[in-house]
């Protein structure tokens, strides 16, 4: 804390000196009488009261919140010195926002005041609230004590998870009970085919209509309900950001929504954040995995790195052979694009949701921007065509203009008509 004297003390001292010198020089005692109130005020300010002293803490009601929620917080200020007028400047940032105008209150000596306030969580992430700034003035306002109040409090703000009505169906499933209708044949609900009865078949599976028509016993064959492995591949090498909204923000929201939806239908979900900082979560199922993924997504950030990274940096168990790799990428960095092409070359079932940077690119007003912008768009179209030639659907997601479901539907439509050749 820093104690400072009001500049008016110096002014009063100077005025006093001028008046007293003038009184002495001119022999006018009235001037000394005019200066006396200022002398008295300075003297009262200097010796009339105890020094200012402040202590305090900053406390959040909870450590975790959802994006868009409001979190209650309390600043506690206690005064140990002279009674003071306290101005409390609450901690506010663009992502953890509160009314920035200070709160002024009177703090009697030895008492404590609790100031409750609310912080609006504007964006997901790990935020730090505080410290608050405080300024205390003595009764006459001649001395001010300024400083920081309390220690920063950490708040983990989780992204809001949207509910998705449609999902990309994996081409391959794993032989564990789930909600995905497998392409394989076995016991299930969905009808797949007919075949002649063989020893060991249950009588209840006989298709009597086909049997009577062909005079040979036939049985129904179904698609079993299996679960799948889904790897959410988050490209964090680069992002396009404009006005606090960017491609990474959209990708994190999409990853949280996709993880929630796949885990809800008993699939195993893994997360790979592939960028300047590489981290991953191995495939797992259940609510606990959802919490792990959302917690890991908080650490997602674009870190500048010149290191070349490819998928050999990832552990093998992270990418099961039958997994659907669902990439959320702005397709801005060659390393991210190269990793995706590498995954496809290794035979993985890959789908790319391109979080389009176009929505976060300031619209050029023609002139010198028109040609490079056109070239850039052509390059991106060529890249998309390259993926599609390899059988990889690339759905453009113009966040926030279009919904994620639209991009998912685009992927599903592509996969319906152009199935990639799978690794044998």
């Amino acid at each position: 804390m820093t104690l400072s004297a009001s500049p008016r003390l110096q002014t009063y001292t100077a005025l006093t000196a001028i008046a007293l010198v003038a009184a002495l020089a001119a022999g006018r005692p009235e001037l000394a009488a005019l200066a006396t109130p200022f002398v008295l005020l300075v003297a009262v300010a200097l010796v009339g009261s105890a020094p200012l002293a402040l202590e305090g803490t900053l406390r959040l009601d909870r450590e975790r919140a959802l994006e868009g929620e409001r979190v209650r917080a309390t600043a506690t200020v206690s005064g140990g010195g002279t009674p003071a007028r306290v101005e409390l400047y609450l901690p506010t940032t663009e992502r953890l926002h509160t009314d920035p105008s200070p709160i002024a209150f009177w703090l009697p000596r030895g008492q404590r005041r609790e100031i409750p306030f609310e912080l609006a969580v504007e964006r997901w992430g790990v935020h730090h609230a505080g410290p608050a700034m405080v300024r205390a003035r003595d009764r006459l306002g001649t001395f001010a004590l300024e400083g920081k109040l309390g220690r920063p409090c950490e708040l983990r703000a989780y992204p809001s998870v949207r509910r998705l009505d449609t999902l990309i169906e994996p081409l391959k499933t794993r032989p564990v009970l789930g909600s995905q209708v497998s392409r394989e044949r076995g016991e299930g609900i969905e009808f797949a085919d007919l075949r002649p009865l063989v020893p060991g078949d249950r009588v209840r599976r006989i298709n009597w209509r086909a049997t009577s028509r062909r005079r040979v016993p036939y049985v129904n064959v179904q698609h079993p309900e299996h679960s799948a492995d889904v790897v959410l591949f988050l490209d964090t090498f680069a992002e396009a950001e404009h006005a606090e909204e960017g491609t990474l923000d959209a990708a994190v929201h999409a990853a949280a929504a996709l993880a929630s939806a796949y885990l809800a239908q008993r699939d195993r979900v893994a997360l790979v954040s592939f960028g300047g900082v590489l981290y991953w979560l191995t495939p797992s199922a259940g609510t606990r995995q959802l919490y792990r993924i959302v917690d890991a997504l908080l650490a997602s950030d674009v870190r500048l790195s010149y290191a070349w990274k490819d998928i050999t940096h990832l552990p093998r168990r992270l990418l099961p052979a039958r997994a659907l790799v669902l990439a959320l990428s702005p397709l801005l960095d060659a390393r991210g694009v190269g990793a995706l092409l590498d995954l496809r070359a290794r035979g993985y079932d890959l789908a790319v949701v391109e979080v389009s940077p176009m929505a976060h690119t300031p619209a050029g007003d023609g002139g010198s921007y028109r040609l490079p912008l056109r070239l850039w768009r052509l390059q991106r179209d060529a890249l998309r065509a390259r993926f599609e030639m390899l059988g990889v659907p690339v759905a453009r997601w113009e966040h926030p203009r279009t919904s994620l479901e639209l991009a998912i539907e685009e992927v599903t439509t592509f996969r319906r008509h152009a199935r990639p050749a799978l690794r044998s």
Binding site: L15, L24, A33, L34, P37, L41, V47
Partner: protein
């Protein structure tokens, strides 16, 4: 307003009143300028002008020097307080009272103190270079003491 009132009361009992009225107007203008531009430097100039229009013309005054000095202090304190309050704040109850009471108390207490100074000045002491030098030394000591105290207090 207080500055204008001080100037007008001074002009009412002094000759020539036109210059004093001009001084009062100048002081009021300077205070208004300080408050409107959020800068304090015009305030001491305004106080000097108000002090000068009281002290320069000779003759008896309707308003005694202790009361006028107290008024000057009140003007200065209210002007500085106005500048302190320029930041938009969410003010809780009971914030304004203590400072207002403290300023009024000091302003009231200065009237007898100034009267004592005037009474002391009426004492029949022959003027000499030695006494003038002692007065100057007292001024320097007074100003120096205030400065040292202010520094010591700020350094805590």
């Amino acid at each position: 307003m207080l500055a204008a009132a001080l100037g007008i009361t001074t002009a009412a009992d002094a000759e020539p009143s036109a210059a004093i009225l001009a001084g009062a107007a100048l002081a009021t203008f300077l205070l208004a300028l300080a408050l409107s531009t959020d800068h304090s430097p015009p305030i001491p100039v305004a106080l000097l002008v108000l002090g000068a229009i009281y002290a320069v013309p000779s003759g008896d005054r309707v308003v005694a020097a202790p009361i006028y000095g107290s008024g000057l202090l009140l003007t200065a304190e209210l002007a500085y307080w106005s500048l302190d309050e320029r930041v938009r704040e969410r003010m809780r109850a009971g914030v304004v009272g203590p400072r207002l009471l403290a300023i009024l108390a000091v302003a009231a207490a200065t009237i007898p103190a100034s009267a004592l100074v005037l009474i002391a000045a009426e004492a029949d002491v022959a003027r000499s270079p030695g006494i003038t030098a002692a007065g100057a030394a007292a001024i320097v000591a007074c100003v120096g003491l205030l400065t040292v105290l202010a520094r010591l207090r700020s350094g805590n």
